[in-house]
Each structure stands twice: as structure tokens, then as C-alpha cells.
Amino acid sequence: MNGLGIIRGLGVTFKHFFQTYLEDLRAGKGRYFTEEGVQARSRADQKGLFTVQYPEEKLPVPEEFRYNPFLVYDEGPNGEQNLRCTSCGICAKACPPQCIWIVRSDDPVTGRPVPVPAEFYIDIDICMNCGSCAEFCPFDAIKMDHEYEIASYDRIAHHIYDKAKLSKSAQYYATIRPTNAAREDAERAAKEAAKAAKAAERPVRKIGPENAN
């Protein structure tokens, strides 16, 4: 019969429509504006209303989520910010659209390069959020941020991030990416231990900028 297909189709939309109310009744108050509610609405058994009401409720971003990169620093004993970056330049070489600029610092006395970046710039109007820099950095010094609420009124003034704007603490990193941070910390500690063991085996005679810090 003509029209039967349409009616059957409309049945699907009606089911969809009523499910929202049924779910609301079933789940009660916890369905909206709570973390569990948001999570329940993004599971495979989700039914009914699908909307996440940003900004009142936010869809949580997973650990691997990547937006713009930032530089990780470890806090020193006196509150100084020791960037992990050694200005090795690998991220700048790996970056596909070439939006990282690094100035390596030189030791004022010897003129030899020291492993701290003097300047570090990322043009986030070019950055493609690809994560290559974080992936290939051998020192866990550059990581991908979760911060996405960064709309601005002026790009010329604000969209080339400099060292100050890029630096974020290791604690922050550990909060946004707990498992990664823990794994990397463990790996680094193991490496350091291995190095120390090796150094203990044979007397060190090396003098150079590496030993200076």
C-alpha cells in the first residue's frame, strides 16, 4: 500500500522522540548536568536525548586528545621553572607545517650551545594539532594540551605563542594525561638509574656543558 513505508519510517522517529521522555523518567535527576549523566549519554546503550549542554556540561576529553602543544617544565626547589626542553630541535624538524621556531642558547663564556632553549615559538595559526612534536621529542618536553577554549579577538597579538605562554608545569601534564605521565616518568627514572649504574662502573672524566647542570 502506498504510504505504508512512510508510516513505518515515522514510527522510528516517534520511538526516538518518546524514548527521551522515558529515559528521563527512568534515570531521574542524575541524567543532566552531572558527570555520570554525560557519560551515560555517550555510551553505546544511550537512548533518547543525545545533546550535551555545553557550556553547563562538558563532554570530557579523553587522555590522548590533542589540541595545541605546550612545553613541560619541572618545578625547581625555589619555584623556578626548568623546562625539560634541551633545544635539540627534533620537534622543529619533525613538524609538518614547520611552525616551530627554536633559538638555542649559547653559553656566554665558552660560546658553546647549552641545552636550554633561549626562545621557543609556535605559530598556532599554522599548527595542525598533529602531535608529531610530542611524539618524537626524546625528552618528554613538549606535549599536546587539552585546552580548547582559546577563542580570541586578535590573532596578530596572541597567536604566536612564545616560551612563557607555552610553558606549563609537569603537575598540569600529570593531571591531563595521568597514565602517559606515569609511564614516561617511570621510563625516565629507569633510564637515569641505568645511566647512574653505568657511571658508577667506570670513573667519569667528561667535562662539558652537560655536566654543568
Binding site: 545533546t51 594539532n129 577563542a151 579577538y153
Partner: protein
Amino acid sequence: MSTEELNTPGMQVPPELQNQVSITTLNRIYNWSRRNSLWPMMFGLACCAIEMICAAAARYDFARFGFEVMRPSPRQADVMIVSGTVTKKMIPQIVRLYNQMPEPKYVIAMGACASGGGPFKEGYNVVSGVDKFIPVDVYIPGCPPTPQALLNGMITLQKKVDNESLKEVRWYKKGASEPIPVPVLGPDLMDPRKFGLIKEESQKMLEQQQMPGTGPAAEEAPAV
């Protein structure tokens, strides 16, 4: 939208009247009504447009903010969301669309490409940011900005609208707003505002080529 936002702070309404009466300034009610009915133009350029569609779809649903209807015609739109890479071949159309939008009009540059060229900036057919031609109100970094980032950008635009003043807005100033000259496709993209400069530079290049002993014109640009 709750009445609190409409009431101008400092003007007290007795509690029993709060749902019926608001005391506000003309500016505030003007901006309040505009900010809650910003209609975007249905206009997608590239990858970012897909995220814009997602922001319009069930999960993020920007109709909740009054970005209710995507208008296919620029004549009915208030906001142009430039969502994607702006190419030289497309920019004349974008400028024309912008000129056709009635005031008050706003532009959101969504994503790295629309803001400043993006990953394809070095390409020969890519415009380094739509703001080279049309004024942009809000920039949203990211490649692509997630739907939530786009919503955040739209809220940022609403804040901008909130702070405008009837006395100062450009569309009530004397003289009709001038259309932006539409770029022309020549041997490369030509901005009519820069014809003089283009002629001057090409002339310089010609002279340089004719002078013996100088390098090719490409070296004119400061090599970095």
C-alpha cells in the same frame, strides 16, 4: 534566557515582579536580543565545516544559543563562519558574500586555516587568513576546532555583542558601509586595494632583470 541577564545590574526589581518586569537599558535589550538570534550562514569550506555541521547536529546543537537556523542566503545571515581553508579561487566569492550580508554582520574565523593560513599556508593557492580581506571578529584556533571549541568561540562572539553600544556601532554611523572591493583573479590573486603596489613591484622586478649582474627576482625577498 533568564531575566537576570536582561536586567541591568544595579537596577532592582522587587522579587515578586521578577518574572514579569525587567528594568534595563536600551543598549542592553538591543544587544540581548541580537546576541540570542545570531543566524549563521550555511557555508562550509573544508574540513572545519564538518565539525561545524557536528556542532549543529544533535550532540552539540548550537540552536540552544539561538544560532537557530543556518541560512543558505547571505541576505538573511548575521554571522559568517569561515570554516576552512580560504583559497585564492574562493576568496572573490567570500568577499562578495560578505558584501551581501546586511549589517550588523560578524565573522568568525574557524580553525587555523581561516585565521592565518593553517597547515597549507605555504601553498600557492591559499590565502593567509581570511582577515586579509574581510574583518574578523573572533578567531578560533585549532585544526579542526572541536565542536565544543566552536561553541566556545560563538559564546565569545556573544560576549562581544554584549559589549557593543548603540552609539558607537558602525552601522548607525553616517554614510553607508562601503563594500569591500572584490579581489580579481589575474596571474595571481589581485587585491584591488593593492594595484598600485603590485604595479610598482613588478616594475622594480623588470628593472632588476634588465640590469646586468643582478640575480633573479626571487632573491629580492629577504632570505631567512
